[in-house]
Amino acid sequence: MSAPYPRRRGALAAVGLLAVGALALSACSPSGEPKPTASVAAEPDATLTVGLVLEPTNLDIRHTSGAALEQVLVDNIYEGLVTRTQDNGIEERLASAYEISDDGLIYTFTLNDGITFHDGTALTSADVVASYQAVKSDASVQGHAEFADVASITAPDAQTVTITLTKPDQNFLFTLTGPAGLVFKKGDTTDLKTAENGTGPFALERWAKGSAITFDRFDDYWGDAATIGEVVFQYIPDFTAGVNAALDGTLDVLTAVDPNLVSQLEGTGDFTVTTGRTTDKATLAFNNAKAPLDDVRVREALRLAVDHEALVEAIGAGQTLYGPIPELDPGYEDLSDVAPYDPAKAKKLLKESGHEKLELTLTIPSFYGTTAAQVLVSDYAKVGVSLEVKRVEFPTWLEDVYTNHDYELSFVLHVEPRDFVNFANPDYYFGYDNPEVQKLYEQSQTEIDPDKSAGLLKKAARLVSEDHAADWLYNGATLTAHTAAVSGFPTDSINSRIDLAGVTKSAE
């Protein structure tokens, strides 16, 4: 059976990112030109303080979904055989090299030399096998469903790991860049919820819940040592408070800056603000399985009625997106021709479908800003649709919308990369069921040639957009501010990964 839910990551991720993204999306400041940094020598033992919005609930990345967790732990504390670049490319990490057999079924990884866990134990292929076996056999481990096509995981010798699939999986290597691919010590008894034993360039120093997580450089790191001595992730849930903390000198870096507050930071001349790309898809979900949204004319009308350009401007950052695949994922195509702003046509379609006057409810998790909902209410009013906005807590959203499919319209920022599968899964909360799309997706996953695979995805994505399975309000961008002393801080995709390896801080 094909994995019905090949990717599973983060509700919290969704939440966090969403919150982050939503705000991030709300202002349009051109990305600050990086100021020429005075060439002051980097301080190797410097402490870097990074302001973040969403704190993880625990540190157990094996069992808990969430971008807040991945953002800080992956690559810094824990590592996998392969990892992701800022633009979602795949590169080697614990593996020095990997090979994929011509039939796409056998993956052979060679490990780097001298890798040790933070407790000093050497890492061998046996640890990799044990970690991946757990993903395969234990349903409660994150990534379990994505390992459905894994036939065997073996270690021919201490430096080599071989994974055999039952059928080719174009996404498998990418899966290994996420939590499912992280390597833990075999038989470790560390309580992963509160402690860690990874292999990364940093080790957990302290976690003051509700306030900050501190990492220290791990001096016996197998690769290039980190270029800062200590990192403090300071969690500040309020956006204005975050900016205040940056302004009073508490922070070196502030992530997820509210676009409306950017001018305060830039005004001082002390901060450089960068705009990073993300795979955040601000998704206006339609309940395709429920009248009147099971009528494609109604769904099309609801897309044509939204002025996406104006919406992006109101949000303040990000770009328009007219299909399910964002620019950073394979299969992206500009689909703006499918649903251009056309309120007159929207009205006509609604009339045709017998819904000249329509009342709909939009269910939206309460941590999102109000901008998107306000724009929708006003755009829809112009075509005779009155929209009632129902703000709920995230667990309520999960139960009502996600689990019980009890909704009409919903707004959530879907942050996971490569999550097109949700439109190929008729049981997902979108209620969208198109066998042609499902077939194309399946083919794209078993296709060995990446370009051909992307081509198939592109075709499927166009179909989804032409079916108006949902509306994509925008593709989020995330703003990051840092002081002149900081260099090398990542820009793109940082709401799911902040790789601190090359970051330096100078004395100023």
């Binding site: 019905p4 839910y5 990717r7 599973r8 990551r9 983060g10 509700a11 919290l12 991720a13 969704a14 609930t57 625990n58 157990d60 069992h63 808990t64 979904s65 969430g66 349903a139 409660s140 994150q142 379990h144 469903a145 309580d191 919820k193 509160t194 003051a208 819940k209 509700g210 306030s211 900050a212 403090v232 300071q234 500040i236 849930p237 309020d238 408070a241 205040n244 903390a245 807590e393 995230f394 667990p395 309520t396 959203w397 999960l398 139960e399 009502d400 996600y402 689990t403 959530v412 879907h414 996971e416 999550d419 949700n422």
Partner: protein, 317 residues
Amino acid sequence: MIRYALTRGALLIAGLLVSSAIIFLTLRVFPGDVAQLIAGTQADPQTVEALRESLGLNKPLLAQYGDWIAGILRGDLGTSQLSGASVGAELAEKSRVTVPLGLMALAIALLIAVPLGVLSALLRGRAGGTALSIGAQTLAAVPVIWAGMMLVVVFAHRLGWLPAQGFPRSGWATPAKAFESLLLPALTIGVVEGAMLMRFVRSATLQAAGQDFVRTAAAKGLTRRQALIRHGIPAVGLSIVTVLGVQIAGIVVGSVVIEQLFTLPGIGRMLVADVGTRDLVKVQSELLVLTGFVLVIGFVVDLVHHAVDPRQRAEEG
């Protein structure tokens, strides 16, 4: 006295039991659960079900309630379903912010209420007294959150004297900083609670003024005001103790709002966050501890009252 203490103690235990049942049941009306939150939006239903099972969320309600109460009786407040941390330990840690905040707020409230309350009673009928009364009435009606925002605007933004949010990462290891960061929040609660308390002090003082022993003292040659200050006010003290019990509950409630506003890592904010993540085992233990705290204060106040006030003992016969 012993009989009274025993009866009152039994009432306390019954109160705790009833509260625990109410807390447990009311939390169960929330839609959504922690298992779904842990699993995420890409999880398949089987995974969520497996998680629910392992967290004990599938057990019958009565069994869940029994497990919880049995744990409490063993002195175990439970473990967070989300973070795996001990609820007791986290409560202890967060109380290092909330308890000092509450005590500071209480001190501020008393500093405002007692002198101003007595003063406004003494000045009754005069312009000053009326002004004080109206001021207290107005302040007592102010929502805590609005008072907090006003104080932030004035003292943090305009004057820049005090921090507007947060608690030092080093905590009480840097006492001056920790104290500073609690000052505005404590002032916020203290002023509003103080205004309410002041109205009470005023009316208690006025009532005392009408009592026989004050009149007697006045008849013996003291002025009315002297009689009131020497004999009336000590009697007022006792009733203030009673009202303080209620005030403390108000301060606990106020701290939930205030910690949110000032981003203080205390019990109030923890509670709000835990409700948001449906970490219900944790929430119910936290609520029970808070309820227990308020009930115990009421118990102590009653005992003190009983021991000190001869009229009550007489009634008991």
